[in-house]
């Protein structure tokens, strides 16, 4: 490898330095760098204007270098960065978005770990947390909390467990990977708590986190006068107002966490993401935000070590002011606006770039109907058009990585589903005004419980009904403690028997199968689907003024927007159809049948039964006849990503020959081979990846 020019007198280097405590970092503070704020351990190698991109890796002029380069500042990337930093590595985190946190930031912060982790032990002992925030009583019996890593491992690899969609959530999990997961849950929980994350009482287990024991805890902060991560407090302003206001700190208003912690606790993903980010910045992790990783550079195309990454500038602007969106905190940010830069990783690269839910071409590998570009991944406004774009997976594939668990996308209910949030493209999350990206979505959405679907009909892009509306937001699949017949298992809670053939018997499956398959009807071709893609098109909830009044819906701003193309109001059904056609970006054909569909529906209501889709026996039917009339999108969303880069128990990325790619690590939704929903998987992967990345030898 060619020597790098050493022309900049203000370069900083961190070689062979031992890990330092948080207290030392606080004492020394951040160190200012060249022009941009390069900090401790990172090296600015090229001054602006002199970098150039060449073909051979040996000819690359690197703009920055660090021991560990982390791609993605989310649920895998942040723990990886902190852990690597704890072990003495210099770390640069690159994220395509303007703010760290990824999808974790808008999550419900439900962290399922287990195997006898510190929180299970705390609750078993009936103890409170160190700070005295958790005063709620224990939620489970001692037996329901008692386990070890072996039991957890068996749960996560149990071939016999079937869910209510007759799928097997644990059967295909990579075994070594889940052994490592089970063995590292304790350390990861400890790690989180050591990095300012507060978690409440263990309460249930999150989806596909195992059937045998309770393992899930929700993260929280205590409402206080100011936001002080060290003290564990969040201001009312930053916590947001439920059902009314978000904030830059918390893109979704934080929920009441009293049930699992104490009065005044506010809980959601902000209580996990922001503490981790705070800790990372405090420890000297450097961030290059607004920067999208486009390529991983390896010594040879399919052999040798990984050397670094190429990344392009990916700023996002406020649509009203044109100003660039900025991160909530800036300490530790490297301000870099050049179009393309190269960052060298002296030890390792960790891919925590999230999944593929927002990449129509990639996700259509699993399900061709999902090539429809109208449908997005959750957190679309928060993460922007380059979030969840499979770039981490694709970059790994391009340097020879194998894939794993690709079929597991089809075996969890919320991988793709239709949430009951109408009138917004971002139909998974309920962001309110107050977050910088709210204007990009324009509406919070009308959040309807399932029973409220009795008050509307749902039509496809040509205006025809396609399913019993009450079943449209319903998806089965996924099985976690306490599970039971409603989730597809013959027994629930402590009565569940691991590895028992009866769990997978035909009789049990017949008795417990409950998947309505409504999502597939929604994605089906219809007469508006044209070659070559045969897109299914948007689907619309149609209702009237009487429905709004009867069920007390909130349909004004911010829940809907008159201009974002996801909600329409008209005096007649015919006019409603015309407004949809003229006003919605993905409405490619006219809703030719809408008027006749509504008329037919009303005749069914008169008769008291629905011969097409069997409504009437499960809930009352209501006419849609009182003007004004409304149309609101009911958008399918791809939320979870399963299937990605194959990794081993050390989080090393594995190539097609079954060998680790030297220096390359991955985790979370960039990786495959696991079917556990939510944050636990990614957090453990990040912890493992950071640990091993920091211990790589320097290239």
């Amino acid at each position: 490898m060619a020597k790098k020019p050493d022309s900049d007198q203000k370069k900083r280097k961190l070689r062979g330095k031992k890990a330092v405590s948080r207290r030392d970092f606080v004492k020394t503070g951040a160190v200012a760098g060249v022009g941009a704020a390069a900090g401790v351990g990172t090296t600015v190698l090229a001054t602006p204007g002199t970098a150039s991109a060449q073909g051979a890796p040996s000819a690359i002029q690197w703009h920055y270098e660090a021991d560990v380069v982390v791609i993605g500042a989310g649920c895998t990337g942040l723990p990886a960065a902190i852990r690597a930093r704890d072990l003495g590595a210099s770390v640069i985190v690159v994220d395509q978005n303007f703010d760290p946190g990824g999808k974790m930031l808008h999550s419900g912060a439900q962290v399922s770990l287990g195997g006898g982790d510190p929180l299970q032990l705390r609750d078993i002992a009936g103890e409170r947390d160190r700070e005295g925030f958790v005063t709620a009583p224990r939620q489970h019996s001692v037996a329901e909390l008692t386990e070890d890593a072996d039991l957890l491992f068996r749960d996560h690899t149990d071939w016999s467990v079937m869910d209510a969609a007759a799928q097997a959530p644990y059967r295909y999990n990579e075994r070594e990977l889940h052994r490592a997961y089970a063995d590292n849950c304790y350390a990861t929980r400890e790690f989180l708590m050591a990095n300012y994350v507060r978690m409440g009482r263990i309460s249930g287990t999150h989806g596909n986190g195992g059937l045998s024991r309770a393992r899930r805890a929700v993260c929280f902060l205590m409402e206080g006068g100011t936001t002080d991560i060290k003290k564990g407090t969040v201001s009312k302003q930053d916590a947001g107002v439920p059902n009314a206001r978000s904030s830059h700190f918390a893109p979704r208003p934080m929920d009441d966490g009293a049930k699992v912690a104490s009065s005044g606790a506010r809980a959601n993903g902000a209580a996990l993401a922001r503490p981790l980010e705070f800790s990372a910045r405090e420890k000297g992790v450097q961030f290059i935000l607004n920067r999208h990783m486009d390529e991983i550079i390896r010594e040879q195309p399919f052999s040798g070590r990984v050397l670094g990454i190429r990344a392009t500038y990916s700023p996002r602007q406020d649509p009203q002011t044109g100003a660039r969106l900025e991160s909530f905190w800036q300490n530790g940010n490297i301000e870099e606006r050049r179009e393309t830069i190269f960052i060298r990783a002296r030890k390792a690269i960790v891919i925590g770039a999230g999944g593929h839910g927002a990449n129509p071409q990639f996700r259509s590998m699993f399900y061709p109907a999902w090539r429809e570009p109208a449908f997005v991944s959750s957190g679309w406004a928060l993460l922007g058009p380059r979030g969840q774009d499979a770039s981490g997976i694709i970059a790994g594939m391009r340097v020879g990585a194998n894939l794993a668990g690709m079929h597991q996308n089809l075996s969890y209910g919320s991988t793709f589903h239709i949430p009951g949030i109408l009138a917004t493209r971002d139909s998974y999350t309920d962001m309110y005004p107050g977050h910088p990206t709210f204007s990009l979505r324009g509406s919070t959405g009308i959040n309807l419980p399932n029973a409220s679907f009795q008050h509307l009909i749902v039509v496809n892009q040509v205006g025809k009904r396609f399913f019993n509306e009450l079943l449209i937001p319903d998806r089965k699949g996924g099985a976690a403690f306490p599970a039971g017949p409603g989730k597809g298992q013959p027994k629930s809670g402590l009565d569940h028997v691991q590895l028992d053939w009866r769990n997978a018997s035909v009789a049990n499956i017949r008795a417990t199968y409950a998947e309505p398959n409504s999502i597939h009807a929604a994605l089906a071709m219809n007469e508006g689907s044209k070659a070559p893609d045969y897109f299914s098109g948007p689907i619309w909830a149609i209702f009237d003024r009487a429905a709004v009044e009867r069920d007390k819906w909130k349909i004004d701003a911010p829940f809907t927007s008159p201009t974002n193309g996801f909600f329409f109001k008209a005096d007649t059904i015919e006019e409603l159809a015309a407004k949809i056609k003229n006003g919605h970006e993905f409405q490619r054909v006219p809703l030719t049948h809408l008027a006749e569909t509504v008329a037919r529906w009303n005749s069914y209501v008169d008769k008291g039964s629905d011969p097409e889709f069997a409504r009437g026996s499960d809930a009352p039917m209501h006419k849609i006849d009182t003007p004004p009339f409304y149309a609101a999108t009911l958008y399918p969303v791809w939320h979870d990503s399963y299937g990605g880069l194959r990794i081993n128990g050390r989080a090393q990325v594995i190539d097609m020959q079954g060998e680790p790619i030297p220096g390359l690590y991955a985790g979370g939704e960039s990786s495959g081979g696991g079917n556990q929903h939510g944050l636990g998987r990614a957090l453990v992967h990040g912890y493992i990846a950071g640990t091993n990345a920091a211990r790589e030898s320097t290239s």
Binding site: K103, S107, G108, Q110, G269, S378, G420, Y428, T429, P449, N450, A451, S452, Q454, R545, A546, R550, D551, K552, D571, T572, I573, E574, E575, A599, N602, S603, V605, D606, K607, G608, G616, S617, D618, A619, P620, M621, K623, D625, T626, P627, P628, H639, H677, G678, L679
Partner: protein, 310 residues
């Protein structure tokens, strides 16, 4: 859309489009165009003449911009004719001499179709259960696609045999929350026998002079036998036992809303029904009942579990 004429010194090409090219009678349509000359010539200030189907003047467009090659006129917004049909108009560029170059007169055609205004009829607030021979009222709304004033327009209601059973005139009143949906309330008489009948509302040809399409809508008239028994439904929260004021009760075809005590009362004919009680944020309560005498049903509703989001 273009024509060429050869002069000793120059050519003119004129292109004009009309949007929309299918337009409601009397509605606005916009003409946009370009004019190019060979050799290029700045003809700003020159006026294009719009001639209708009989050659009468319909408007003009002045050339206001020149980019060195093409002249662009101002947009012209015109009212479409009131008569439905296909129209071919002309855009004439009169002869002009500029900078020593002569351009003879040239013209191009624009073709558009005028359609009658669509009208829409809506019928609502039809009672779900009407006792035979009793009077009942419904609301009828009619709207023009171009929001023409329809006050004093007539409409008629026809029964299941096609017999006209009512004629009414739209007052000058809009239904709240709508833009120019004229509304009228009509009193009708139910048929003498129980059953489900299909009646219709049809707008009659009257009102504005601009042509409007025919329009009608059908609606169901459910006639029931005289109710014999009183069904009292007590609705409460399944945990707190608090009454659910405003809960909606349906035992098809009967409907009611619970009062401030959570009680709904329905007078129903003898027979079997599926009773539903629903309230916002609660799981729907359902129960098959047999009405053979006055009866009371207690409906305990459970809150619908809040969906966990990651």
């Amino acid at each position: 859309m273009a024509s060429l004429s050869e002069d000793m010194h120059g050519y003119v090409t004129c292109v004009v489009d009309v949007s929309p090219d299918i337009v409601d009678a009397g509605a606005e349509m916009t003409l946009r165009g370009t004019l190019s000359c060979s050799p290029p010539c700045d003809l700003r200030g020159h006026v294009l003449l719009i001639k209708d189907e009989i050659g009468a003047d319909a408007g003009s467009m002045e050339l206001t911009e020149f980019d060195g090659e093409t002249n662009t006129p101002n947009e012209l917004v015109l009212k479409a004719p009131l008569t439905p049909g296909k129209f071919t108009w002309s855009v004439v560029c009169p002869a002009v001499e500029k900078g020593g170059t002569s351009f003879t007169e040239t013209s191009t055609q624009i073709v558009f179709t005028v359609t009658p205004h669509a009208t829409y009829v809506v019928a609502w607030d039809v009672p779900s259960d009407i006792v035979a021979r009793e009077r009942f009222t419904i609301k009828v709304g009619i709207k023009c696609s171009n929001e023409c004033r329809l006050a004093h327009s007539d409409f008629a209601i026809y029964d299941h045999e096609g017999t006209r059973v009512a004629v009414a005139t739209l007052p000058d009143k809009h239904w709240p929350g709508t833009a120019r949906l004229y509304v009228s309330e009509v009193e009708l008489v139910a048929p003498p026998s129980a059953g489900l009948y299909t009646w219709s509302v049809k707008r009659l040809h009257s009102g504005p002079r601009i042509p409007h399409s025919e329009s009608s809508i059908s609606f169901g008239v459910r006639v029931v036998d005289p109710p014999e028994h009183l069904v009292t439904i007590e609705t409460v929260d399944g945990v707190s036992r608090a009454p659910l004021r405003g809960a909606h009760v349906v035992m098809h075809p009967y409907r009611a809303v619970a009062d401030e005590h959570g009680v709904a009362r329905i007078r129903a004919a003898k027979g079997g029904y599926r009773l539903f009680v629903s309230e916002t944020n609660y799981l729907t309560f359902g129960l098959p009942i047999e009405v053979a005498s006055d009866m009371t049903v207690r409906a305990e509703l459970d809150l619908e579990p809040v969906l966990e989001r990651n």
